[in-house]
C-alpha cells in the first residue's frame, strides 16, 4: 500500500479510481498528563504528552484509512490530507483522507 500526498507517483500510473477513503479518531489525554501539561504551561516549551497523543492518533487515523482502502481493493492512497480539530480541552479529532486508487507500472 502506497500512502502519499502526491498526486502523481513517479513511474506509476493510475489504472482506476476507487473514490475517497478516510480514517479518523478522537483522542483525549489522561488526567494526570493534563495536569502535568497545565503545570508545564508556567515555563513553556514542548508538551511531550500531547505530542505523543497526536502522533499516536495520527498513526491510528492513517491505519483506519489504509484498512478502508484495502477493503475497496486499492493498492495506493494518493493526495492524502490531514485535518485536526480541537473538540474540548485535551481532546482532539484527527482526520486523514485521500483518494484510493489502483496503480500500475507506467
Amino acid at each position: 500500500m502506497i500512502v502519499s500526498n502526491l498526486e502523481i507517483i513517479p513511474g506509476r500510473r493510475v489504472a482506476s479510481h476507487l473514490g475517497m477513503v478516510q480514517g479518523s479518531t478522537v483522542r483525549a489525554k489522561h488526567v494526570g498528563k493534563d495536569i502535568f501539561a497545565s503545570l508545564k504551561n508556567i515555563v513553556g516549551g514542548e508538551l511531550k504528552g500531547y505530542t505523543e497523543l497526536m502522533q499516536e492518533a495520527r498513526e491510528e487515523a492513517i491505519e483506519r484509512m489504509t484498512r478502508e482502502a484495502e477493503s475497496v481493493g486499492a493498492n495506493a492512497i494518493l493526495n492524502v490530507r490531514f485535518a485536526t480539530t480541537s473538540i474540548t480541552m485535551g481532546a482532539a479529532e484527527i482526520l486523514a483522507y485521500g483518494s484510493a486508487v489502483k496503480l500500475e507500472e507506467a
Binding site: I9, V43, F82
Partner: protein, 173 residues
Amino acid sequence: MGQFLDLALFLLLLAIGYVAGHAIEQRHYASIRRRERRYRDVLAFPMRFAPDSVTAQQAFLVHGTVVVSADYFKTFVAGLRNLFGGRFRSYETLLERARREAVLRLKQDARARGARLVVCVRFETTTIASGWAPAIEVLAYGTALVPLGADARALAPIAGHETAASRSISRPV
C-alpha cells in the same frame, strides 16, 4: 493579606515563566540549529510534483509533529498585547520554533526510512487548548522518495552531498 498573597503568587509565576521560559527557548534554539546542520542532507520541498529527474521508486508518507505551549510570561504579555494590537513577538518565536522542530522531525522520519528527498511538504497548525494555558500543535507532512537502482545516480546531484554543486543547494542561504 489574601490579595497580597495573590499578587505575590502572580509575580512569582511571572518571574518563573520569564526566567525558565527564556532558558528553555534558548536551549531549544541551540538544539534546533545543531540538528538542522545534521539533517542538511535531507532535502524537503513544498512543490507538488516530484522533480523530472526522479522516476520509478518508492514513495511513502512521512510526518513530524510537535505540541508547544507558551510560558506564563508570554501568555500574560500576549494578553496585554491584545489591548493595544500589534506584533505578538513572543508568539512569533514560539511558532517559529515549533515549525522548525516539526520539519526536523519530518526529516528525521525520512532519513530513518532511507530517504533523502521529501516533496509536497505541507504544514498544519491547530490550537488544541487556548486561554491561560495554550497548546498549539504544528504538523509537517510530505512524501519521501527513495530512488531505485540507476535512478539513485540520476538523483545524486539533487539529494547527494558528494558534489560541490549539491553542497550549495543543501546549504541554507
